[in-house]
């Protein structure tokens, strides 16, 4: 049975049946793991951190899926959990090291530079450094739109922000990134 062939609503029905619950959940993980992983990874940079956050995301999903109301899409709901879990992780990291958010951002930039494949001459690495200069929320908006090409309507449900504010945020983010890359 192909994963793409099974709809979210069918997986949810299977999840609610104790006999097929675990199999359905494994299918949900397989279906969304890469999208969610990269969403988290782009925010926390380090693979180990991304792995920790992602596992916590799926544990939360396991505990909450029983009560998930199908008036919103599963995909949107998963992104919301992943985003909140990532922001919580970054907040905890900030508290643990007792530093300001800008220090965390420069810490993330240092993590990028510490990557064994990092090459400051390559545009894709410059882009990653440019993204880290953005404020946290703007960074999420940019990444959801630029990499995941998420419609504003969905993004609005994920981030619980108006579509207009998201469009403005994306516009500012694009301009800042363009400027950074041109000047570095």
């Amino acid at each position: 049975m192909q994963l793409t062939a099974v709809s979210d609503s069918e997986l949810l029905v299977q999840f609610r049946n104790p006999v097929t619950k675990e199999r359905a959940f494994t299918s949900i993980i397989k279906k969304y793991q890469e999208k969610l992983y990269w969403h988290v990874r782009r925010m926390v940079i380090d693979h180990e951190d991304a792995n920790d956050v992602l596992q916590n995301v799926f544990i939360r999903v396991w505990n909450g899926l029983e009560n998930f109301r199908e008036d919103s899409q599963l995909y949107t709901w998963l992104y919301r959990i992943a985003t909140n879990e990532t922001l919580t992780f970054l907040e905890q990291q900030k508290k643990r090291t007792a530093v300001s958010l800008s220090d965390v951002e420069s810490g993330l930039s240092n993590k990028i530079k510490a990557d064994r494949y990092f090459d400051s001459n390559k545009l894709e690495w410059k882009l990653q450094l440019a993204i880290q200069q953005l404020p946290e929320k703007q960074r999420i908006v940019f990444q959801l739109r630029y990499y995941d090409e998420m419609p504003y309507e969905e993004m609005s449900r994920v981030l619980e922000t108006s579509e207009g504010a998201l469009k403005a945020s994306y516009h500012h983010a694009v301009k800042k990134i363009e400027d950074y890359i041109k000047n570095h």
């Binding site: 596992q55 799926f58 630029y146 516009h171 990134i177 363009e178």
Partner: protein, 260 residues
């Protein structure tokens, strides 16, 4: 209000601002106004665009032209192994199963039966339950609660058991410490008999002889004996005497052991 009027007003108020030239101190980026109209139009088109790529093309043709491929890497087989790794964490989590799921996995049969209570109560039982209690408590005095532990006889019985136990243990210990060693019985007798004087020994033998000859019995009244013995047959008396003699013989043999 005209600009001159404002300056005049400031002069009347003797404000130092009246001498400050009204000049803009702020600056804009070079070429800002030249490109503003184009940028606004790009933004409007971006807002109306139907897909993210078209939108980005209006906002930043440069960003739209570069690769979106991420430069990060993941460990080999990470995504293949992730579902099982997550399930392993979930299985070890305390909230892994609800009570219903736990029962379903342990015993599908019991799970199918369900946990519905099969017992029934009389109609209106719970509705009237409180009323019944109130009624009973109004009419009847509360029953006295008697504690078994508080009863006096119970305390005495407990004390007697403890005293009895202590006494029995003491007696047992006392006799255990004064037993005659069986293996050296003859030696023990010899040692102790050496301490006894000849006169004491003679008086003991004499007393024993007198007892065995039935002098105590002779002192009793003859009429009483006849009254007591009237229902006893001669054969029974003969048996008794035979047994008594045998008993005396045994006593003599014991005395032999003691004296030898």
């Amino acid at each position: 209000m005209a600009k001159n009027d404002i300056i005049q007003e400031l002069s009347q108020l003797e404000s130092s601002f009246s001498n400050v030239p009204a000049r803009n101190i702020y600056v804009v980026p070079q070429g800002y106004f030249e490109g503003l109209a184009g940028r606004v139009m790009s933004r409007i088109k971006a807002l109306d665009s139907t897909n993210p790529q078209e939108e980005l093309n209006y906002l930043s043709p440069f960003l739209n032209s570069i690769s979106r491929e991420l430069p990060f890497s993941v460990p080999q087989n990470y995504f293949r192994e992730l579902p099982e790794a997550v399930m392993e964490v979930i299985r070890n989590h305390e909230d892994y199963q609800t009570a219903e799921e736990e029962l379903s996995s342990l015993s599908p049969m019991l799970s199918n039966i369900g946990n519905k209570n099969p017992y029934a109560v009389p109609e209106g039982y719970f509705e009237n339950f409180g009323k019944d209690i109130n009624l009973k408590s109004d009419n009847k005095p509360a029953a006295k609660v008697v504690s078994l532990v508080n009863r006096q006889w119970f305390r005495f019985a407990a004390a007697a058991v403890v005293i009895g136990f202590v006494a029995l243990t003491g007696i047992n210990l006392f006799f255990n410490n004064h037993t005659i060693p069986t293996s050296n019985t003859h030696r023990w007798v010899e040692e102790n008999m050496n301490k006894v004087s000849t006169d004491e020994m003679n008086s003991f033998i004499q007393a024993d002889d007198e007892g065995s000859k039935g002098k105590e019995v002779a002192t009793a009244g003859t009429s009483d004996i006849r009254e007591l013995m009237k229902d006893v047959s001669d054969n029974d008396i003969q048996d008794f005497l035979n047994k008594t003699n045998a008993g005396n013989d045994e006593s003599e043999s014991d005395a032999d052991i003691l004296l030898n």
